[in-house]
């Protein structure tokens, strides 16, 4: 499991600019960003270095922000790579609440997802040859 930074945000012009500025001012580098939007509000999900520190920095300037545990799996960056992963999840009875994907400079695709249900997911993934990533594989974790 890795930590994802989640921010609750209204659908208003300029809000994302302010958010990115606040993260930048906290000295935090981002690796991936995705927005789930509804008519009124959005949830911004970010993979970044030091997610706990970023969440605290955002809260201190008035954002509703927190870090959330999500699963990150490396998939081969080739046709059918993700489909093979989904097969394994389906077999384990896992439901995917939300997911997104980004590529690392070393040609690996990282699949990030929030799942519910299922059992023996880690074992099923390992048996199928998938690697569940640790924080240090994806970003520079918070210093303890």
């Amino acid at each position: 499991m890795i930590d994802q930074l989640s921010v609750f945000m209204e659908n208003e012009p300029g809000r994302l600019t302010e958010l990115c500025r606040a993260i930048g001012d906290a000295g935090v580098n981002m690796h991936a960003l995705t927005i789930a939007d509804t008519t009124d509000f959005g949830i911004v999900r970010i993979i970044c270095d030091a997610p706990e520190k970023a969440a605290l920095a955002l809260k201190s300037v008035g954002y509703s922000a927190r870090s959330t545990k999500v699963m990150a799996v490396a998939v081969p960056n080739e046709p059918g790579g993700l489909a093979a992963l989904m097969d394994v999840l389906k077999g384990a009875g896992v439901n995917v609440e939300y997911a997104y994907c980004f590529a690392t400079p070393d040609q690996r695709a990282v699949f990030v997802m929030k799942t519910t249900g299922g059992s023996g997911v880690a074992e099923a993934l390992a048996a199928a040859g998938f690697e569940a990533l640790q924080p240090k594989d994806v970003y520079s974790p918070d210093e303890l």
Binding site: F8, M9, T38, F41, G62, Y63, R66
Partner: protein, 433 residues
């Protein structure tokens, strides 16, 4: 207590004092204010025929429009050379209402507010910061005079410049804060942002807050944040200003200053007096005002008389905290709704703060109500579904309590505008026929 001989006067003596003051008052307004001459005559009310306090019920009411019709000085009962101060309402909903004060009027008002300072545990060593607006609004100067009259040190800050307010509260060891509840909350939040915990880093032990409706939940939140007891004070500029009634430290109703005012509660539809304990519109008769006396003034504030004696020792009767105003009451699809009811519902949800705005508009032929409410920074969410579920749960609670459908929208922390004077909780965009 600031004036124990008056505040604990036995009821019989108090009522005799009221009657002694009421008799000459009725005669005086009849002789000196043409409006009262005409209205008494029209109602067949004899200002000299009063035998008991109950006879006052035969007198006609005075309403805000009467004050507007007599703009600016038609309701003054003294010659202009005796008037030393004028206050006026904002006039946002019509002509301003003007109230004049003689020196004796200001003295009585100072005494009324000074009683609040005593009830907020003030001493002569106290330092009281006044963060009500100064000006034509009665809040600032009323609190100011009351603080000085009591013998406290007054810091006349008025509203605004909130960081400076916090710095001076710390530097001057301010122990009493007088302002609106929404501004007190803003001061507490600003202090926290500055890295100052008002509960431990400031010496505030009492707050005297009024001029706005306030739910129990908002009061508790404010008391906790500030680490201080909040004393609710009531008043209205037409009648005097803050100090007409005020809580004691037991916080179980507001003691009316019955040496200066007679209060009645009437049914807002029939205008008949209701028994103690029953809700209705507060009607006030001023007993000692020289310049702008009022007979049976309909305040439009909804409250009730709390029966029984208060354990604090004050014999003056208590009104309950103001539940709303007859003119704040929203009629939405035929249902009566007070903004405070909305506040009581949402403060039961820890995910959201007490900051909200209610927008009433017309969609098609129907009234539509939108509620914007801020989530707290600690709001624990991860998926869209969770946020939508929160909105649904608040909506269901409102439906259950108010019997109306409200479109709930949660918004980011600190995005609903903070007012420094009176918080605008309701925006009514409906077109009036």
């Amino acid at each position: 207590m600031y004036q124990p001989e008056i505040e604990t006067m036995d009821r019989e003596r108090l009522e005799r004092l009221q009657l002694e003051r009421l008799k000459p008052l009725l005669k005086r307004v009849y002789e000196r204010i043409p409006f009262y001459h005409a209205s008494f005559d029209e109602a067949g009310f004899d200002p000299e025929g009063l035998e008991t306090l109950d006879d006052l019920r035969k007198a006609p009411f005075t309403v805000k429009q009467d004050l507007r019709d007599n703009y600016p000085f038609g309701m003054f009962a003294v010659p202009r050379d005796e008037v030393v101060r004028i206050h006026a309402s904002s006039g946002t909903t019509g002509t301003a209402t003007v109230v004049g004060y003689t020196q004796a009027d200001l003295d009585a008002w100072s005494d009324c507010f000074a009683r609040a300072v005593g009830r907020a545990h003030g001493t002569k060593d106290s330092t009281m910061q006044v963060a009500y607006g100064y000006g034509l609004f009665t809040g600032g100067l009323g609190a100011h005079m009351g603080g000085e009259r009591f013998g406290a040190t007054v810091v006349p800050m008025s509203t605004g410049n909130t960081k400076r307010q916090v710095n001076l509260m710390r530097d001057f060891d301010v122990d009493i804060l007088a302002c609106t509840p929404s501004y007190a909350m803003h001061i507490a939040d600003t202090a926290l942002e500055m890295g100052i915990d008002p509960a431990t880093d400031l010496k505030v032990s009492g707050m005297i807050c009024g001029a706005e409706p306030m739910s129990d939940e908002l009061r508790r939140e404010l008391e906790q944040k500030m680490g201080a007891q909040l004393i609710d004070i009531y008043g209205l500029s037409e009648v005097m200003g803050p100090g007409v009634a005020c809580e004691c430290e037991l916080q179980d109703g507001l003691h009316l200053a019955e040496d200066h005012f007679i209060a009645e509660i009437v049914d807002p539809d029939t205008f008949e007096p209701v028994p103690d304990g029953q809700w209705g519109e507060l009607v006030i008769t001023t007993l000692s005002k020289e310049c702008s006396p009022l007979i049976r003034y309909r305040t439009r504030d909804i409250t009730r008389i709390l029966p029984g004696e208060c354990a604090c020792g004050c014999t003056h009767r208590r009104i309950d905290r103001i539940r709303g105003r007859t003119d704040d009451m929203l009629i939405i699809r035929g249902v009566n709704v007070f903004p405070r009811q909305v506040e009581e519902v949402i403060t039961a949800f820890p995910e959201v703060s007490a900051w909200y705005q209610l927008v009433v508009s017309t969609r098609g032929d129907l009234d539509a109500v939108d509620l914007n409410v801020e989530v707290v920074p600690e709001f624990d969410f991860d998926t869209v579904r969770e946020v939508e579920s929160l909105q649904r749960r608040i909506r269901a609670a409102l439906k259950g309590n108010l019997q109306i459908a409200v479109n709930v929208r949660v918004v980011e922390p600190k995005t609903i505008e903070r007012a420094e004077s009176k918080q605008k909780r309701v925006i009514d965009l409906r077109k009036r026929g």
